[in-house]
């Protein structure tokens, strides 16, 4: 009887253990991005832009050329790089505070210019690194350290549906929302990430994949409970699907 290895660490991932909390889904998405880079054979021609937030150390885990940007500015950094080197594949990896709050202007205008970059947007409805504060994507009634009585729309407005908002723009090539709550969704997420990178390689403009994710530590849940909470609470408000497809 012979054994064949059918699942192993992608080549574009470093061998470093992540600093993420147990059960944090960042690691799943990192792996999917690295697998897509490997499958497209573009490791040496790919540039990542890390955000500020938990994924600030992305460059320790994905082994491509990499920038570490200021908070929210990853799409601008990616724009500058891609405009000078259109031959490179440039992606940003941003959380909800980074992308939808402080970096709202940068993401909207990068999308609106049809900037030929790929954005991986991690929406876990909370600020992770700073300790669980309210994000623009925090659900109504969800408790965080800065909305301890639950998010109240009168004070804080409503959670932003980034994928739908950006899909109203003419220029973007591909926009999808996926999740990593279950294996079947993980497969879909990888397909979406691959489509997004392919959209860029084909020169069809801005692509964004919003990934509904968890933050077990700041949600105050076990990792498995967090995935259930995501399915039960986030998916109904943030429907999964493709909102924009390349022509």
């Amino acid at each position: 009887m012979a054994e064949v290895k059918i699942f192993e660490r992608p080549k574009s991932m470093t061998d470093v253990s992540t600093h993420y909390c147990p059960g944090c889904t960042h690691g799943i998405v990192h792996r999917l991005v690295a697998e897509v880079i490997d499958e497209l054979g573009i490791q040496e021609k790919t540039v990542g832009v890390a955000p500020v937030g938990c994924a600030v150390l992305l460059y320790n885990y994905i082994n491509t050329d990499m920038y570490e940007a200021a908070h929210g500015r990853a799409p601008a950094v990616a724009t500058g790089c891609k405009r000078v080197r259109p031959d490179l594949t440039v992606f940003t990896y941003q959380g909800d505070g980074d992308l939808a709050s402080i970096g709202a202007a940068e993401i909207v205008h990068a999308a609106n210019r049809g900037e030929n970059i790929t954005v991986i947007f991690i929406n876990n409805a909370i600020y992770g690194m700073t300790g669980g504060q309210m994000a623009p994507t925090t659900l109504l009634k969800q408790r965080t350290t800065t909305c301890p009585f639950g998010r109240d729309p009168k004070a804080n407005g409503y959670p932003i549906r980034v994928a739908e908002m950006l899909a109203t723009l003419e220029a973007p090539g591909y926009i999808a929302r996926v999740t990593v709550a279950r294996p079947k969704y993980v497969i879909k997420t990888k397909e979406a990430i691959k489509k997004a990178f392919q959209t860029q390689i084909d020169g069809k403009g801005f692509s964004l994949v919003e990934v509904l994710s968890t933050c077990p530590t700041n949600w105050g849940m076990r990792p498995t409970e967090a995935l259930k909470w995501l399915e039960e609470n986030m998916i109904p408000y943030y429907p999964l699907g493709e909102f924009k497809l390349p022509n």
Binding site: D65, Y67, E68, R73, G80, C81, V84, H109
Partner: protein, 353 residues
């Protein structure tokens, strides 16, 4: 035949950058520097470059972070409030040791201030602006001719030191027209090949590029700071530039830079015509500041008069240079007002007694 052309300052700044090989410009409109982006939007496509209007100064400077990371020559320009918005990004660029050139066509502040010329961003340019222990190489041209030469030189300096370089001009320089000859200025420095460090050469180098400013390990961060400081000391050794006129026999030395120095030169000529011995030290590099000529003033100098289009900023560095050997006085106008030839003449005469 002369190669001189009559050009508006802002356009000349832009053309100088293009002739220095800069093909990438990211900017945002703000008066009084709008002719720079306007000129670039038309000129850069001719040389196969990219002009991009950013959604804000904040985005613009971060586009520069991304573009400069590729090792190609990049330029951004703005005016005072816009530079404030860029200050975070400039700190990141300095920390990540990326080369780029930033032109600040200064206007009156603080706040939204006004749109007329000023020199009130001296502190911002030379003492920080953004957070952390970083320095901008800061050049202060006195004429449009000198500005074009400094801009060309700035790209070499930026690449040699892998540091942002600021051209500190004022609204007068941006808006005036003057005859200019575009000379090829090239420093004879051994500039490292960007392929050694820049984004996009992973296959050639066999190693990825990592452009960042984060350092969570305090020992590493201290070491990085020390490395930057060592670089700044090298700049202080090598990049001090100033012009000295009639200081040898002077009773009073005027210290002024940029447009103010130009006005002061006319005042000095009038004073000399009346038999009064007044000289000028005109810093051309504001960081590193020329402390030495102020420290080495001839014994005959009885007084230093600092003239600025601000409420008194460079005077602090002049005092550091003079070290209390002679009194240092100030005359300034601000908010878009400029000192006249006569006002400076009067201020000097008061000191001459």
């Amino acid at each position: 035949m002369s190669n001189r052309v009559l050009m508006k300052g802002n356009e000349a700044f832009a053309e100088a950058a293009v002739q220095a090989g800069c093909k990438y410009f990211f900017g945002y409109p703000i008066t009084p520097q709008n002719e720079i982006p306007e000129y670039m939007s038309k000129r850069l496509p001719e040389v196969g470059g990219v002009y991009l209007q950013a959604e804000s100064e904040v985005a613009g400077i971060n586009m520069i972070f991304g573009a400069a990371g590729t090792g190609f020559r990049t330029l951004i320009s703005s005016s005072s409030p816009g530079i404030s918005l860029m200050s975070e990004g400039i700190s990141y660029i300095a920390a990540a040791e990326l080369p780029c050139v930033i032109i600040n066509v200064m206007r009156g502040g603080p706040g939204l201030g006004g749109i007329l010329p000023a020199q009130s961003d001296y502190f911002q340019a030379t003492k920080g602006g953004g957070h952390g222990d970083y320095r901008l190489l800061t050049l202060a041209p006195g004429t449009l001719q000198e500005a074009t030469e400094f801009i060309m030189m700035a790209f070499d300096l930026a690449e040699y030191y892998r540091n942002p370089v600021m051209i500190l001009a004022d609204g007068f320089m941006g808006q005036m027209m003057e005859a200019i000859e575009f000379k090829k200025v090239k420093l004879n420095y051994d500039i490292p090949d960007p392929k050694e460090w820049a984004i996009g050469y992973m296959a050639e180098r066999g190693k990825r590029a990592l452009i960042k400013s984060l350092s969570l390990d305090p020992e590493m961060l201290e070491k990085h700071n020390q490395k930057l400081q060592e670089k700044y000391r090298r700049m202080e050794e090598k990049e001090v530039r100033y012009e000295s006129v009639g200081v040898e026999d002077a009773d009073v030395v005027i210290a002024a830079y940029g447009t103010t120095a130009r006005i002061a030169k006319s005042s000095i000529k009038k004073l000399r015509d009346q038999g009064m011995k007044v000289g000028l030290i005109r810093p051309q590099s504001l960081y590193p500041f020329p402390y030495k000529p102020f420290n080495d003033l001839p014994d005959g100098v009885k007084h230093v008069l600092v003239v600025e289009m601000s409420c008194g900023q460079m005077i602090e560095d002049v005092k550091l240079g003079v070290q209390g050997k002679v009194p240092v006085s100030f005359y300034g106008r601000c908010g878009g007002m400029a000192p006249s030839v006569e006002e400076i003449e009067e201020a000097a005469k008061k000191l001459l007694g």
